[in-house]
């Protein structure tokens, strides 16, 4: 009983509450700005965090993580540019939702699903960490490859009607993912003598370039073209949609319940994928989306603005907040890049994440759990308060909005790795994105293939190395067979469903 009091005392100190609030606010803001991500904010704050006491420090970092997982949806829905990589999938239905006249419903759905997913994985973290971690450890290269194959095949699901263009975009993404070092031998490939590309193409500049800078370039060209022809017509672009009817855009508990199935699917998939070491929030969002579509009663509406398509990936990516801490706190193996940064922060505080972390730091860890819980509540509060504010930003005319986004993207890209090369990549990616937009190619598959491709290649080659070069090693695991089976079933269903449309 005494212990519970000390924990509560530790967790509800004003210092902790303030830093947690600061973290969530920062997270939502940074998440909403394309070019800045939660990971970046955490990495930049690491030296500062060192000077704080452990519980407020961790509270702030976890607040940033949660906030940014939701924040990315704000810009994804408002103006079609994902604020964080994890929001790429949210954009698929979120942005059409906005165009169809219910942005507020979409954003509130994103918020509520985020918080639900987050809460769900936190509960699992606290009560089932050890068994879940043991299951996660069952994933070796063979199983990972099967998971990635499943994810890559689902790219076909994401593409509505333009399978050829979608797969082409995915192919480009895979190709870009191959630039850099071979995962096994370490030789450089596809860098064309540019030694700055030895480490490969970084994700954030590519993402922001392809989505935001490309749009900026197109809008700029349109403006320039118009001014050239001396046309004075006002550009409405992505600003206030005419015919917006607020009465059709009301969020209610009923709406939340209608998307609850998708939210729960996202929470479960997100927790599961988040607990896999190295999987990450984008993959979690993607897998959640695919799974929700499988089990939905209206799969044909995915990609057209259906709220389930917003709820699932948002629940999925937020579920990684709690889940990625599972392998970190049980074995010291981070479940995602963000968890790795939080692990570094723990280490800097003298807390060694791993099997003995609870024995060695009982009070701090339990207080941390309490803080994780109420940070979710804060996320809900801040999200609710900040949505109208940040969403109004989408009402700004695109010729002011996009240059601002571009500026943030430039700053954020440079701040992340102190590299000018990254900025060049941002610009080239923008060009690529602009070309693809003009050709009506979908951009989502490109980025997703870019994220998943390298992981898939590494897993395949590791599996083959372990199996001594025998391809049969890929089928030696029941988990892997399970994923392949689901993939095959999905493809069959997809083909039949396409036939139905024809």
């Amino acid at each position: 009983m005494d212990f519970i009091f000390s924990v509560l005392q530790e967790a509800f100190v004003p210092e902790v509450i303030i830093f947690a609030m600061l973290g969530v606010f920062l997270g939502v803001t940074v998440g909403a700005i394309p070019g800045l991500s939660g990971d970046m904010a955490i990495a930049l704050l690491l030296p500062f965090v060192y000077k704080l006491n452990p519980v407020p420090a961790l509270g702030m970092l976890i607040g940033i993580y949660k906030g940014s997982m939701f924040g990315g949806a704000i810009s994804a829905i408002s103006f079609g540019v994902p604020g964080t990589p994890a929001a790429v999938v949210t954009m698929e239905d979120g942005y059409p939702a906005k165009k169809n006249g219910y942005p507020k419903k979409a954003m509130l759905t994103a918020l509520y699903s985020s918080v639900t997913g987050d809460f769900f994985s936190t509960l699992l973290l606290i009560f089932l960490a050890l068994p879940l971690a043991s299951v996660a450890l069952q994933f070796g290269p063979v199983e990972f490859f099967a998971l990635y194959v499943f994810a890559l095949l689902m790219i076909a699901l994401l593409v509505q009607g333009g399978i050829k263009k979608g797969l082409a975009a995915a192919g480009i993404g895979l190709f870009i993912g191959c630039i850099g070092m071979d995962p096994v031998i370490g030789t450089t490939r596809l860098i064309f003598g540019i030694s700055r590309l030895r480490g490969g193409i970084p994700l954030i500049p590519l993402l922001v370039g392809v989505f935001a800078v490309s749009e900026l370039m197109i809008q700029f060209l349109k403006e320039w073209y118009r001014s050239r022809l001396k046309k004075i017509k006002e550009l409405s672009g992505l600003s206030k949609e005419s015919g917006y009817d607020p009465s059709k855009d009301i969020m209610s508990f009923k709406v939340y319940l209608s998307t609850l199935k998708a939210t729960l699917i996202g929470s479960v998939m997100g927790t599961f994928v988040g607990a896999l070491p190295g999987a990450g929030s984008s993959l979690a969002a993607y897998v959640s989306y695919g799974a929700a579509r499988q089990f939905s009663s209206h799969p044909e509406q995915f990609g057209k603005g259906i709220l389930e398509g917003v709820a699932a990936p948002e629940a999925g990516n937020s579920a990684t907040c709690g889940a990625s801490m599972i392998p970190l706190l049980t074995f010291g193996i981070p479940g995602s890049a963000t968890a790795a940064l939080i692990g570094a922060a723990l280490i800097m505080q003298g807390i060694n994440p791993g099997p003995l972390v609870f024995q060695e730091n009982t009070l701090i860890m339990f207080s941390f759990f309490v803080v994780i819980f109420y940070a979710s509540v804060m996320n809900l509060g801040f999200g609710y308060a900040l949505i109208p504010l940040y969403a109004k930003i989408a009402m700004v005319k695109s010729r002011f909005l996009f240059p601002s986004v571009f500026l943030f993207a430039l700053i954020g890209t440079y701040a992340s790795r102190n590299s000018v090369t990254d900025v060049w990549i941002l610009l080239v990616a923008g060009l690529l994105g602009a070309l693809l937009r003009k050709g009506r190619f979908p951009l989502g598959p490109l980025v997703l293939a870019f994220i998943i491709g390298p992981g898939a290649e590494k897993a395949l080659r590791q599996a083959l190395l372990i199996g001594g070069g025998e391809w049969s090693v890929l089928l030696k695991s029941p988990i892997a067979i399970g994923f392949y089976a689901i993939s095959v079933v999905s493809i069959i269903l997809l083909i039949r469903f396409q036939k139905k449309l024809a």
Partner: protein, 325 residues
């Protein structure tokens, strides 16, 4: 009265000139003003071993040097961006490189880079990171000799998860196999964490990593460390024999060392060396490092130079043998 006032004026003028002279002389004397920050550039990403060790160092040293110390991560181009950046900075004694031998030496020996290895002067060492072989607690491999015996009986059966290709845990494995003639399957991973995960999950038989990654699981009894590849036993793994003890000369520890590029004045290097070694010997640095299974090795410039040269020779031999294969 007027004379008094004039005298007073002169006095004041004199005092003011004296003060000005004093101030300007002292700022001339301070060749290394403390307003500028000392910067350590790290070719690895945030949160990694080098980053964390540097930050422990920076916070312990900050009160001693009384100026800002920044640790800046520049992981671009496989670490070459950080190296190139430090090379192109004015060599004023404020900008240093903090790294292990991978980006600095291994890359220079395997690819074309814009510097000579002799251009870099080690200033001091923070810690030694010792490659360690480990297995799951219930593994049938009892110890190193058992590993050798079993591998000789059936070659290419055991899989060993090590970090990246030619990384700090990988090279000792190569040396070990050369010495004993055994063959294992090498499985590259993204780093120690992944190797640990694969070992715990039973996907690979043996792992190669460093004490700070596996220390906690060893203490908890989930993994067993078979051997460490250093001259002497590692304090955080006191029950683990060295390869040398067991009769195999596999000694290739990685060091995290601060380097200055050529042209940084000798006296500045000495000043930095002394202050930072003092910082590493403080109570706070030692206890923090202890908690994290990091063993601090505050070696000075001369000792580091010897270690640096030895590592270069070692790697040259090793890598040329590899390419001959």
């Amino acid at each position: 009265m007027r004379i008094m006032r004039r005298r007073l004026n002169f006095m004041m003028l004199f005092v003011v000139i004296l003060l000005l002279a004093f101030v300007s002389v002292s700022s001339f004397a301070a060749e290394y003003p403390k307003e500028k920050a000392i910067r350590f550039f790290n070719p690895y990403g945030a949160g990694g071993g080098v980053d964390i060790s540097s930050r422990i160092l920076a916070s312990a040293a900050q009160p001693l040097v009384d100026q800002r110390i920044d640790v800046i991560c520049m992981p671009g181009a496989g670490g070459q961006e950080a190296i190139n950046f430090v090379m192109n900075q004015p060599q004023d004694g404020y900008t240093f490189l903090v790294t292990d031998y991978g980006p600095l030496i291994t890359t220079a020996l395997t690819e074309k880079v814009g510097y000579d290895l002799s251009d870099w002067k080690p200033v001091f060492q923070i810690t030694e990171v010792v490659p360690t072989f480990f297995v799951k607690a219930d593994s049938p491999i009892k110890d190193v000799n058992d590993w050798i015996a079993k591998a000789k009986a059936e070659p290419n059966v055991f899989s060993v998860g090590h970090g990246r290709y030619l990384s700090v845990p990988h090279l000792p494995l190569i040396i070990f196999e050369k010495l004993t003639g055994i063959k294992n399957k090498h499985v590259p991973t993204t780093g120690g964490s992944e190797a640990l995960a694969f070992v715990l999950g039973g996907h690979v038989d043996i792992g190669a990593s460093v004490p700070s990654t596996i220390g906690a699981t060893v203490k908890a009894g989930q993994t067993r460390a078979l051997a460490v590849c250093s001259e002497e036993r590692v304090p955080s793994l006191p029950d683990t024999p060295t390869m040398k003890e067991l009769g195999y000369d596999v000694v290739l520890p990685a060091w995290y060392t601060i380097f200055a590029y050529k042209d940084v004045p000798e006296d500045r290097i000495e000043f930095i060396q002394n202050k930072f070694i003092e910082a590493l010997n403080t109570e706070s640095a030692q206890s923090l490092a202890g908690k994290l299974n990091v063993d601090l090795t505050p070696y000075g410039s001369e000792k580091c130079q010897g270690i640096y040269n030895a590592t270069i020779e070692n790697l040259k031999t090793l890598l040329s043998d590899l390419t001959k294969k």
